[in-house]
């Protein structure tokens, strides 16, 4: 590893010395400041991991960082989880490509937060221990409900991981000139180290530091772009439309028909409330008060960040598009279009070079890499918890397992998930990463959210209803995604898609709710009656937190 980097550094010096820093060479040229900053970040985070490892003694420490994170810190960490590579590179790339359509995505990603605060955050904190399955299965039969909730979690986590790994591979390929595959493997290995040794405490602090760096870097880029136009949005937009046409200022082809638009909206809004790595963060704070503050701060940071990515996307249109320094000359020679090196997802990275030179390119690249590392760590921890806490400890061992054993299973699961992420990252290299995240949201909205929401608020919910409805939601979402244009046409290569819409959520979320309702009200069994009677006590605890403190001790 060290030898490789030394070799790369020496190689880059030779490139700089020869003065050949333009055109094709740019792709392989190495940026010293990027490498140095990346190494500083990795050493600092490994230091945090070492510190966290000494404090991670029990399963509770491993899953929830001991429960002592403050609302502000957690808000920062949640924002960090959410400001992923897909958000930063994908959304700024989408704004760069399609203008206004990128903003539509951002808004959809944000508006789920108020709903989480009003409906989910407090009951979740008051009822759960480590995972959202704790809440979903609170008064229902553990084995079937947890198995289903864990499946939904794992599916969401794996899809989301794909998006992150693809971003990582492309970024490092562009920056370091490393092979895509090697880059993906590097991310996978570092993530496994953070999570297995440092657990939630390391994952949270890596996330907080990265969120701070990313917000600072993105602020600098947006300010630099605006300063170029004397802080006049009108001047920026005018210049952008001169280059790309007036269509970028209006809603365009991304959400062209009403069904797709509503479906996307439902997926983003309810999907956010069903993301296991986000829901898990509510167990790291001490009580409902801190949980609320977490959402307030997170929404502020995320909203601010999306406004920045919009400016950054437009900044890339005016400073990167058609700029010979960032043009993919090979592709340009073939079809005469103006693609940028590394594809549209690299728009923000090229812009950082345009506004701040090699040093700032290095900073933003290191931060983007850090973002991916931090987010995949959070995701993997959530996936590993679903495997160890839900499937192993609660289903397979029926709760009779000691904390150390459970933690060990978690670590094994982390390693397996890391390997899966690497393989999937390599398989999905050519997909637009913003769409892959959209698919993850559809599953979260259709399988995780309906069960979680109804378990909190609907007294008539029974195990049969939750399992039937949740399975139908999950399967509908997956099947509709497979037969949608994104997979059926673009990946599998068929001519026309069986399901004409990109986003399945409108159908799969409704299917899940209807099925849960139907299979619950028609359930006349004795156990169903007991489950419905247990709602009252659960509701009191979810509203007041009475009993919650005791539960988190054991």
């Amino acid at each position: 590893m060290n030898r490789t980097i030394l070799f790369l550094i020496l190689g880059s010096m030779a490139v700089f010395a020869s003065g050949a820093i333009e055109g094709e060479v740019q792709k392989q040229a190495l940026n010293m400041s990027a490498i140095v900053m990346f190494l500083i970040f990795v050493s600092a985070t490994l230091g945090i991991t070492y510190w966290a490892a000494k404090r991670t003694k029990s399963a509770k420490d491993f899953y929830t960082a001991g429960g002592g994170i403050t609302g502000f810190q957690n808000g920062m960490a949640i924002a960090g989880d959410y400001m992923s590579a897909a958000s930063f590179l994908g959304i700024s790339g989408l704004v760069y490509m399609k203008g206004y359509d990128g903003l539509i995505y951002s808004i959809g990603f944000l508006v789920g937060w108020p709903i989480i605060l009003f409906m989910i955050a407090e009951p979740l904190r008051n009822l759960g221990k480590y995972t959202f399955s704790d809440v979903a299965s609170y008064r229902l039969r553990q084995t079937p409900v947890r198995t289903l909730a864990a499946s939904g979690s794992i599916a969401t986590v794996v899809l989301y991981l794909i998006a992150q790994m693809v971003g990582a591979g492309k970024l490092i390929e562009l920056l370091f000139g490393l092979d895509y595959e090697i880059a993906v493997i590097l991310v996978g290995v570092l993530m496994i180290l953070y999570v297995t040794f440092g657990g939630m405490l390391a994952t949270t602090w890596v996330q907080i530091i990265k969120a701070f760096l990313l917000l600072s870097g993105a602020t600098f880029m947006a300010v630099a772009v605006m300063a170029h136009y004397d802080f006049s949005f009108g001047a920026l937009f005018t210049h952008a439309t001169e280059l790309k046409g007036i269509a970028i200022m209006s809603p365009g082809g991304l959400v062209s028909d009403p069904v797709s638009a509503i479906s996307l909206g439902i997926a983003l809004m309810f999907g956010t409330a069903g993301l296991p790595h986000i829901l898990m963060r509510f167990f790291t704070v001490s009580d409902a008060k801190e949980a609320r503050k977490s959402v307030f701060y997170a929404t502020g940071f995320i909203g601010y960040f999306y406004i920045l990515t919009f400016i950054i996307g437009f900044g890339a249109i005016v400073m990167v598009f058609k700029n010979p320094a960032y043009l993919d000359v090979v592709k340009h020679a073939v079809d005469g279009t103006y693609p940028i090196l590394g594809g549209s997802n690299m728009a923000a990275i090229h812009l950082s070079h345009a506004v701040g030179g090699d040093f700032f390119l290095g900073f933003i690249s290191a931060v983007a890499f850090a973002t991916i590392l931090a987010v995949v760590s959070g995701l993997t921890l959530a996936g590993a918890s679903a495997i160890s806490h839900d499937l192993y400890a609660s289903v397979f061992k029926r709760g009779n397992v000691d904390s150390m054993k459970e933690m060990r299973v978690s670590k094994i699961a982390t390693v397996i998930l890391g390997i899966v992420a690497i393989i999937m990252g390599i398989m999905f290299e050519k997909q637009n990463i913003a769409f892959v995240v959209g698919l993850a949201f559809a599953i979260a909205a259709s399988a995780n959210f309906p069960i979680l929401f109804l378990s909190m608020y609907w007294s008539k919910l029974t195990t049969r209803g939750a399992v039937a409805g949740g399975s139908i939601g999950l399967l509908t979402a997956i099947v509709l995604v497979i037969i949608s244009p994104t997979v059926w046409v673009k990946i599998l290569g068929y001519k026309t898609a069986i399901f004409p819409y990109e986003h399945p959520a409108l159908f799969s979320v409704v299917a899940a709710f209807v099925a849960i309702w139907f299979f619950s009200i028609t359930d006349k069994s004795q156990s169903a009656k007991e489950e419905q009677e247990a709602f009252e006590a659960q509701f009191i605890r979810s509203q007041t937190g009475i009993g919650a403190e005791g539960a988190s001790q054991h």
Partner: protein
């Protein structure tokens, strides 16, 4: 939580007040967010040209841009409003409920 305690809390006027006030407030704010967001999404779906209207005759900036930014700010303000009230008024009620159990 035993049955006796469930009944006691259920009959506590503070608890009833907490649940009715908080759910009413949470539903109102949720509806506000959903209405604003789906109005925005439906405008895009049914009439994209509306959001594409320029702010003025010689401007390329469309009304969709300030509206979009306003939706983001609206979401943040709503979380602030809820958090402020819940962390004071609702938590005070909740503490009264918790204290009444301790006295018992």
């Amino acid at each position: 939580m035993n049955k006796e305690l469930v009944q006691k809390i259920k009959n506590d006027p503070n608890y009833q007040e907490l649940v009715s006030k908080r759910s009413g407030f949470a539903i109102k704010l949720s509806v506000a967010m959903l209405a604003v967001y789906f109005a925005f999404i439906l405008a895009i779906a049914f009439s994209p040209a509306t959001l594409g209207t320029p702010l003025s005759a010689n401007s390329v900036t469309t009304i969709g841009i300030p509206i979009g930014i306003a939706v983001i700010i609206f979401a943040f303000i709503l979380t602030g409003i809820y958090t402020k009230r819940a962390n004071s008024e609702f938590d005070d009620l909740n503490n009264k409920i918790k204290n009444s159990i301790k006295e018992h």
